[in-house]
């Protein structure tokens, strides 16, 4: 037998959706996390509710590289429909756990095979009601796996207790099933494979959360007051989390709501109501994905032009069109950058971790109100719907920035003299008043049509030019309010620019490249328009690889346009098949280009 392989492998569970296996799979993930071992879990699920093949991939890595890998060392095969494919997907020397009622032949000789009599084991527990047997059965494979790779049963209990919010009954039921599995394995299986878990302390002080939860919580700490939304995968859970936590965190002195959430009739109304709320002075947000975003186009253009603050979370899924609703992508950048007819500009925030989903959750409102503009936060399905390790969420480190708002007393001071679209401060950002202001000079008339500095309708050519030039200026000003890129480097010749959920894969790819002698610096972009630091980074490197998950190298295009004289340095590493990227893919592609 080969040497032990400890805390460095991937586990894939092949099952069907709607079968309750997500509890089991999350339990494995959490149990490993509780053992202090860096871990990640990715759910690869179909766009339906019940009965189709689903895979859950867990990566355990002692060095903290938790990007998805294509290689599967351990496969737990529960689904007869995908069995053949699942078996074939194992690396040589890999391990197959399988539900022993699957009768398909296993022809591979290079793997270790453990059959699991799950149904039998469940039936042997008289405490499991017959209608729950299938559900609870999933915990049996958790127990068997635990026994075979050395997962701590107590961490399983902790995971279950969390999952069932402490409710003793389901915890016991499920824990017993896991224990039964473990006992059975102990008695019946002989360890023949090299894969082991061993407790560490690498996750101490960390938490696990998904990006949508983090975003929703961040928004609550950002003082969100209005949510207009429409369900769509993978954005739904963001609004549903607001629904869950807002009532707990945000009541006034009389126990009444300081916010309103409306599930509108569609996405046009979702963003429309945010435009209304943002205009009227509420911190307004919506969350959506591709098709919904496309429907928001007309209002996005209006919010840009009438200068209304609001926040749009785009949890990107694979487009174009309905595309792959349950697959991840970074393919909406170009669209958002040009969202709406006529000349526009867009402010985009690009969170690069679940913790940043929380941070940008509150910061997005400050930015939107400061700049009186829609802010698009570009998350994705991988962030939004998967559990990630993260440092704990931190309380906002600065007071809210409500931007330039004039109330009654301000107008009294200025004798009621003000102009809604007047560039008083020379930064392109005008002042605004809010409905409900009772000063008789407070009101103005808002429109998406041409208007002058005093919000009066105007078709004057010069007025139009002035307003559009001021908007351009405002988007220049924006750069100082946007999160700066995060740069990790020490003067290498090769630079990498990436953003969002590719971060772990890029980090790991850099390590792989370093092993080959290729040192790289890394700029993680956090906002568009680009900060000056981005230009400096490009200037400071001989080659800059731009890594992203889309077909057309959208960020690469945007960087090229802004850095024409240096454009030849910029090399696109763009690929998108719906799966989170692997470090290997990035590594291979850069290596090939470096060796050319």
């Amino acid at each position: 037998m080969t040497d032990r392989i400890v805390n460095d492998f991937s586990i894939t569970v092949g099952t069907v959706n709607g079968s309750g296996s997500s509890t089991a799979n999350n339990t494995i993930l959490r149990a490993i996390f509780k053992m202090g071992i860096p871990v990640s879990g990715k759910n690869l699920f179909p766009s339906n509710i019940q009965g189709l093949p689903t895979w859950y991939t867990i990566r355990v890595n002692k060095d903290g590289f938790t990007a998805r890998r294509d290689e599967r060392e351990i496969v737990i095969a529960i689904n007869p429909a995908s069995f053949e494919k699942d078996v074939a997907s194992l690396v040589p020397g890999g391990v197959l756990f399988y539900e022993d009622s699957i009768k398909a032949p296993i022809t591979r000789e290079d793997i270790t095979v453990y059959p699991m009599p799950i149904k039998q084991i469940v039936r042997s527990d008289p405490n499991v009601p017959s209608n729950l047997r299938d559900l609870v059965g999933n915990m049996v494979y958790v127990g068997i796996l635990a026994q075979m790779i050395g997962m701590d049963l107590e961490t399983i209990r902790a995971a279950l207790t969390f999952h069932f919010k402490g409710k003793a009954k389901p915890v016991e039921l499920n824990f017993n099933a896991a224990s039964a599995g473990a006992e059975w394995a102990k008695a019946n299986l002989e360890k023949k494979d090299p894969y082991y878990l061993k407790a560490m302390s690498a996750t101490n002080g960390m938490i696990m959360a998904d990006g949508n939860t983090a975003a929703a919580l961040g928004a609550i700490y950002g003082g969100v007051q209005y949510v207009g939304w429409y369900p769509i995968t993978p954005a739904t859970s963001l609004a549903e989390t607001l629904n869950e936590y807002l009532p707990k965190l945000r009541k006034d002195e009389n126990g009444k709501a300081t916010y309103a959430i409306i599930q509108t009739e569609d996405e046009l109304a979702a963003i429309g109501s945010c435009v209304g709320a943002g205009w009227a002075g509420l911190r307004a947000m919506t969350s959506t994905s591709g098709p919904g975003l496309s429907l928001m186009t007309e209002f996005a253009g209006m919010a840009y032009f009438a200068e209304v603050p609001l926040v749009v979370w785009d949890i990107v899924r694979m487009g174009p069109s309905t595309g792959l609703p349950t697959r991840t992508s970074q393919g909406d950048l170009s669209f958002v950058a040009n969202m709406g007819h006529g000349d526009t500009d867009a402010l985009m925030l690009l969170p690069g971790s679940v913790n940043e989903c929380f941070q940008f959750g509150w910061q997005a409102f400050d930015i939107a109100e400061r700049l009186q503009a829609p802010v698009f936060v570009m998350s994705d399905l991988d962030f939004g719907m998967n559990q990630w390790m993260t440092t704990p969420f931190e309380y906002p480190d600065r007071p809210m920035d409500r931007g330039k708002v004039l109330w009654e007393q301000d107008l009294e001071k200025s004798d009621g003299k003000w102009g809604r679209y007047l560039d008083v401060d020379g930064d392109g950002i005008p002042y605004r008043t809010l409905p409900g202001n009772r000063h008789p000079a407070s009101s103005y008339f808002t429109r998406g049509t041409g208007h002058d500095e005093y919000a009066k309708y105007s078709e004057e050519p010069q007025v139009w030019i002035r307003m559009m030039a001021r908007l351009k200026k405002k988007y220049e000003t924006a750069k100082q309010y946007l999160p700066k890129p995060v740069i990790d480097g020490s003067g290498s010749k090769v630079g990498i620019i990436a953003f969002g959920s590719t971060e772990p894969a890029v980090r790991e790819a850099r390590a792989l490249l370093a092993e080959k002698g290729i040192q790289t610096d890394f700029l993680r972009l956090r906002a568009i328009p680009f900060a000056p630091e981005v230009t400096d980074f490009i200037s400071a490197h001989e080659t800059v690889y731009v890594v992203e998950m889309n077909r057309d190298a959208q960020l690469h295009q945007m960087l090229t346009l802004k850095h024409v004289p240096q454009a030849s340095k910029l090399t696109a590493i763009a690929f998108n098949d719906g799966l989170p990227p692997t470090a290997q893919w990035i590594f291979n592609d850069i290596l090939a280009k470096e060796e050319k």
């Binding site: 007051q225 209005y226 109304a269 009227a280 309380y395 008789p440």
Partner: protein
């Protein structure tokens, strides 16, 4: 709360809030002369003046169209939002959460609300926001020069468009079956009724829809078709004589109300709508009666006007959301950002 502007000169007549009629006007109209929309704007001005409404307590909304321009022409001291074609209801929905003491007055067109905007219209009814929703209904798209709207008469022939083959949408029926809490119909050629209905609607808490037939003199004013002044004059049949009795006013029957079948509807603010039934026995609190009446009016080719339906008990949007008594848009960080100590608890809730 209000800060009324000083009244210029002593001989200007003012209302109880100290405002002159002028304070309720807007910019000069840029609509066509004779357009029904202008006459409605005048009645909005008159109704608000009569009701002593403080302009700063109102927010105006509209979509896109000639009708949707008209908020520019009244209540120049109120905030206004001329939004997108067919999307006014969504804008209003969000905005009306900002300050619950502010009343919404919105103007839309038949194209704006029955064609492109019928979806937002229907769902706005369900939310029962505290807003007067006027549809200035002329059966055509005025601003784009005279195409059929969804309320156009079947068989109507227009210059470039040919003959309309589609059965029209009845805005009042649409509002009713979507469970709107106040539904009325009127006619720009009957300004007195328009005004009284506006007052009643402005006192209603919740969505108040008034479908006002408002002829487009430029593109659709054919004597033999609904949406013309002539047809309206010939075929109007008011359901009731309506008078609005403000809160705290002595409740006394006016002379012309002495005989006949008088019904009074109490509104949430203490005001009353007094209805002298012309169609005796018509029950404006019954949805079924309303639907029946509208269907019969259609069959008999009548323009029945008046208060069609009212439900004072339906909770409005603010109530449904159990909203704070304080205006949301005046809340500050201390109201809106959970206390520092909560963050640890939140982290504990994660795994």
């Amino acid at each position: 709360m209000a800060q009324p502007l000083p009244v210029a000169g002593a001989n200007v007549q003012v209302n109880l809030t100290g405002l002159s009629r002028n304070d309720y006007r807007g910019a000069p109209s840029t609509l066509c002369q004779g357009c029904g929309h202008n006459s409605i704007a005048s009645q909005i001005i008159a109704a608000c003046y009569d009701m002593n409404i403080v302009p700063e307590n109102v927010v105006k909304f509209s979509g896109i169209g000639c009708s949707s321009k008209s908020p520019t022409y009244f209540l120049g001291r109120s905030f206004g939002f001329n939004s997108l074609h067919g999307r006014m209801p969504s804008i209003a929905t969000g905005a009306l959460f900002a300050d619950r003491t502010v009343k919404g007055i919105s103007v839309s067109g038949d194209g704006d609300s029955a064609n492109i905007g019928i979806g937002q219209f229907k769902h706005m009814m369900r939310r029962n926001a505290n807003m007067l929703y006027i549809i200035e209904n002329n059966g055509v798209y005025g601003l784009t020069k005279g195409q059929f709207s969804a309320t156009a008469d079947i068989g109507l022939t227009l210059k470039k468009q040919g003959t309309n083959e589609y059965t029209p949408i009845d805005i009042c029926e649409e509002a009713l079956i979507a469970n709107a809490s106040f539904v009325a119909r009127s006619f720009a050629g009957n300004p007195k009724q328009v005004k009284e209905l506006l007052k009643a609607a402005l006192s209603h808490k919740g969505i108040a829809v008034i479908d006002i037939i408002s002829p487009c003199v430029t593109f659709n004013n054919q004597d033999d078709h609904l949406h013309s002044y002539a047809w309206g004059k010939d075929h109007e049949q008011p359901l009731q004589e309506i008078s609005y009795v403000p809160p705290r006013e002595e409740i006394m029957l006016q002379a012309d109300m002495q005989d006949g079948d008088i019904v009074e509807v109490a509104l949430h603010d203490g005001s009353l709508i007094r209805l002298k039934a012309i169609d005796p026995g018509y029950d404006a609190t019954s949805k079924l009666a309303a639907l029946t009446m509208l269907e019969k009016a259609r069959e008999e080719n009548l323009l029945v006007t008046g208060l069609i339906y009212i439900d004072e008990k339906k909770p409005d949007m603010i109530a449904m959301h159990d909203l704070s008594d304080r205006p949301l848009n005046r809340m500050t960080e201390s109201d809106l950002r959970p206390a520092r100590e909560t963050i640890a608890k939140i982290n504990d809730l994660m795994f």
